[in-house]
Amino acid sequence: MFDGLYMFGIAVTGYLTPVSLGLAFGATLLGLLAGCMPGLSATLIITLLTTLTLKMQPNQAILVLVCAYNGAIYGGSRTAILLNIPGTAANAAACLDGYQLARQGQAGRAMGIATTGSVLGTLFGLICLALFTPMLGEIALSFGAFEFFWLALLGVVTSGNLVAVDPLKGWLAGLLGLFVAGIGQDGMYAYERFSFGNADLAGGFGLIPVLVGAFGFSEVLTVMSERFARPKIMEFGSAIPRIRDVIVYWRTIIRSGVIGVWIGILPGVGEDMAAWSSYAAAKRLSKEPEKFGKGSIEGLMAAETGDNASVPGGIIPALALAIPGSAPCAVLLAAMIIHGVQAGPMLMVENPQFVYDVVAMVLFSTLGILFFGLFFIKPLLKITQIPRSILMPIIFVLCVIGSYALASRLFDVYTMLGFGTLIFIMRQYGYPAAPFVLGLVLGDILDKNLRRGLVLSDGDLLPFFTRPLSALLALLVLWTFITNVKTINDLMVWGRDALWARVWPKRSTT
């Protein structure tokens, strides 16, 4: 406990330099601006920044990414409140009550509530990040190859299940991500899989070019295809939050914080689900449920607390298990790998200071949110006035040069273009990008641990199902499949009825 506080103190003082503070606040502002722009997701801005921070020191690069991530999730609330357009998917729940409050002439108050909720949610998540990451890391030290295989599979399955409207399509996207991760030399025997004698393919697809394609190029195409009139910004007053709003809804804040962190920890689920779940829980337990959707302070507070609490929540499994909690966390994890930070159970043994460095990064981004959220409102909204026809080609140029700069080879640019086009087409037909990214990041973990497990058990599959934790994870994976595919459900019902008909013919006919 005191070791943790000591390391946190070292981390905070370490970042109290003009360069680090400038980077932290600059990245938070950049994230806020990106979050304000409908169509630019948190994942996109982190992916682009990953390519732009390659030459930086690891700690400073991760600082920039964490601050931009947190800032983007908060920034989307601005457009949700003033324009009824969520800046990121995470802010969709904030539209319901935020926009209604703005229409009632309380836009300033709504923005104050969004800022308060986001700051308190992130602070709650930050405490959980500091407390639970070491605990989870310690538990994970007892995990073997069998458990890690199931954890990786559970991550893809959960993500596919919860992110997509149609779980089947989510799983197919996740499976494609797992397959793409396996292309090139395998991690055990350096055997070239599906490279067809191509030297570039033998090295496998670079994680960053694929991510830039999936979230950068595909979003450029998506945004360019939409009709979008330049929005008119509503008038608003002071955005300084009222203490009364915090005191009256303290239960909602804590509940939403818990829900946000918990959903953040679930592999691959994300901030939007955290916001909706917090909103739904607040509505169910509210004394004034009839006000929800008509300008409820409690509803807006719940949604904004939930989504920002899930940011540190999602970082917990990424650090402790190397299993990302959301799509932006998957990119963050990829950036850590590129910068030589080995996330996973050994992190707390080999580099425990890094965990507290990340806690300090989240703290600085929260301070940035508070500052820009309260005193920098009008300039933030000017960004929404930039035409998409100007902004999108700029983003595409950054996608191209960012992919190329990794290894100075054009193959990475072609990879970005190819996967961007593929993901764009898949998105048009209901296949989400998040499970694909999860699959891509977790593919190596899944492959290595399945085969390691098989080596340890001499080819026997039983330990994958008989070790207590493995059995539990396997049951969770199977349960998710069975309960979400109607065809399997129908087959099970048919099988049960057929069995009953044989065992007890009279009863089954009656």
Partner: protein, 175 residues
């Protein structure tokens, strides 16, 4: 879900099925490294083969599901073809995507690295993309002189900044 989406699912299911079968075949044909005395269960093709089987199973469920819905909804009232206005909107939508995609591909896949100076190519791309897709009602757009000037200034500024940053700060040899 509408009938169009079910048709797309059926075609999608078929594509996934063929892809899964190809993955299984490719995995089966992989070297099992028997000469290295490795356990057969850890051969390089095991994991992709399992993934291929996964593709096939999900593809079959997708096709079965869309087939079932198509049969049920064949004579169901209410599912009519898109109205002419929707068709026009869809055509506009696809024109815009194709133009943007074509410009991006021409820039990133064809002209980049072909000998044209990076800065000049980037200026041209940014300018063309900004003016051709400027109008949200017409593809390609017919921009006003003011918008052409704005696009030119933006293209020159951004291309110069990106070139300078990557060339002199990140020390990247630009294509």
């Amino acid at each position: 879900m509408n009938a169009k989406l079910f048709t797309a699912d059926r075609i999608g299911g078929l594509i996934w099925f063929v892809f899964g079968a190809a993955v299984v075949y490719g995995s089966w044909m992989m070297d099992r490294l028997e000469s290295m005395n490795i356990p057969p269960s850890t051969a390089p093709g095991v994991v992709p083969a399992l993934q291929g089987i996964g593709f096939i199973i999900f593809a079959l469920i997708l096709m079965f599901r869309s087939e079932k819905h198509t049969i049920v909804n064949t004579y169901a009232p209410g599912e009519t073809d898109a109205a002419p206005a929707d068709n026009r909107q869809e055509s506009f939508y696809w024109k815009r995507i194709l133009l943007s995609w074509g410009l991006c591909l021409a820039y990133g896949a064809v002209l980049l690295g072909s000998g044209i100076h990076y800065w000049a190519l980037t200026v041209a791309f940014l300018f063309l993309h900004a003016i051709l897709l400027d109008d949200t009602e017409q593809v390609p757009a017919r921009p006003t002189l003011r918008r052409v000037i704005v696009a030119a200034v933006m293209a020159l500024t951004i291309a110069t900044i990106v070139t300078l940053i990557f060339r002199y700060i990140f020390l990247v040899r630009l294509p």
